[in-house]
Symmetry: C2
Subunit: 190 residues, 2 copies
């Protein structure tokens, strides 16, 4: 997706060899028009596959999932939670996820009410790095007995192996911008 | 906003006398079409006030802010963070916020890069209860020297006093559904 790559080149900040910071347009400040285009592109990549729900994880994935949902006929968005507020009283599906940027392991949870056997789920998220978040969400879909249509990432860091791990499990993975390496302050696309 | 009140009456769950659970359409599963209508209504309430940015706090506020932003001419959304990932290295504005549902005090933070003196900020969030989150976000706006246009909440629990506290500080507050009391499993609107 050219507009996205251009934006990453213009405003993304390389930190070391592992991190690219895109908080000026994707995960702190959000360029809503760009995220709208991202949503449209995800629909193009997963067109005609009967998606009934979009699953993401708080917090950065929410904007992407909601903007995409309208292109999938306003299907509901479900965002997995990383903590248990006192309003989450009923049964939930849960899976462990290691956060690459935060260096902690958390449990992502989705209420059993919001994914069912009849659902055809599309997982969307901002980054695909080692694949931990996506594997955790795929586990939630499996627990619910739903069908996983595919996994879409806005930015994939190919060198961290997440897409390889997901494809080995047989999942359909689509990344809108694929970073091959981060070296000497430069972001190199595949 | 009638469609919202109808939805709260149909799908909101009263817990005790303090909590109304709307996780089937607003803050776990998201009804994107409804949130789009909510965004449109916020624009009607804050029309012509030159909003340059929408500020919210992760996680539930993000969907609302993004869907509203397009009605405000695709202004950027900035979401305050409750934790400090290792990608947040620069200076930030910070304010303490007590979470009513989670029973904890956290610090909400916004990078200094994303609110400036020239900004006219609209704060949006899902709930207005005791007003803690809104007061924290207003403090961030003040630290930045920006103008606070107003504060919009999807659901206000009037009996918890938040809107009174905010109006005493001189802020323009708009709530799309105002709950007067929660009694014996029933949600009573003002």
């Amino acid at each position: 997706m050219k507009a996205l790559k251009d934006r990453i080149e213009a405003d993304g900040v390389a930190i070391g060899t592992e991190i690219v910071k895109v908080d000026s347009f994707l995960n702190h400040q959000i360029d809503v028009a760009l995220v709208d285009e991202i949503g449209k592109e995800f629909e193009r990549r997963f067109h005609g596959q009967g998606v009934t729900k979009i699953l993401t994880v708080e917090a950065s994935g929410i904007a992407i999932a909601c903007m995409a949902a309208k292109y999938f006929g306003n299907v509901p968005v479900v965002f997995a939670k990383k903590a248990t507020p006192n309003t989450m009283t009923e049964d939930f599906y849960g899976a462990e996820v290691k956060s690459f940027t935060k260096g902690i392991t958390s449990i992502v949870k989705v209420s059993k009410k919001y994914i069912s056997q009849e659902d055809r789920i599309l997982i969307l998220d901002d980054f695909l790095a080692h694949g931990e978040a996506a594997i955790g969400m795929a586990e939630l879909v499996k627990q619910a007995g739903a069908e996983l249509v595919g996994i879409g990432a806005v930015i994939e860091k190919r060198f961290q192996g997440g897409s390889h791990r997901l494809k080995e499990k047989g999942y359909h993975v689509e990344s809108l911008a694929i970073i091959d390496s981060i070296k000497e302050g430069k972001i190199n696309f595949l």
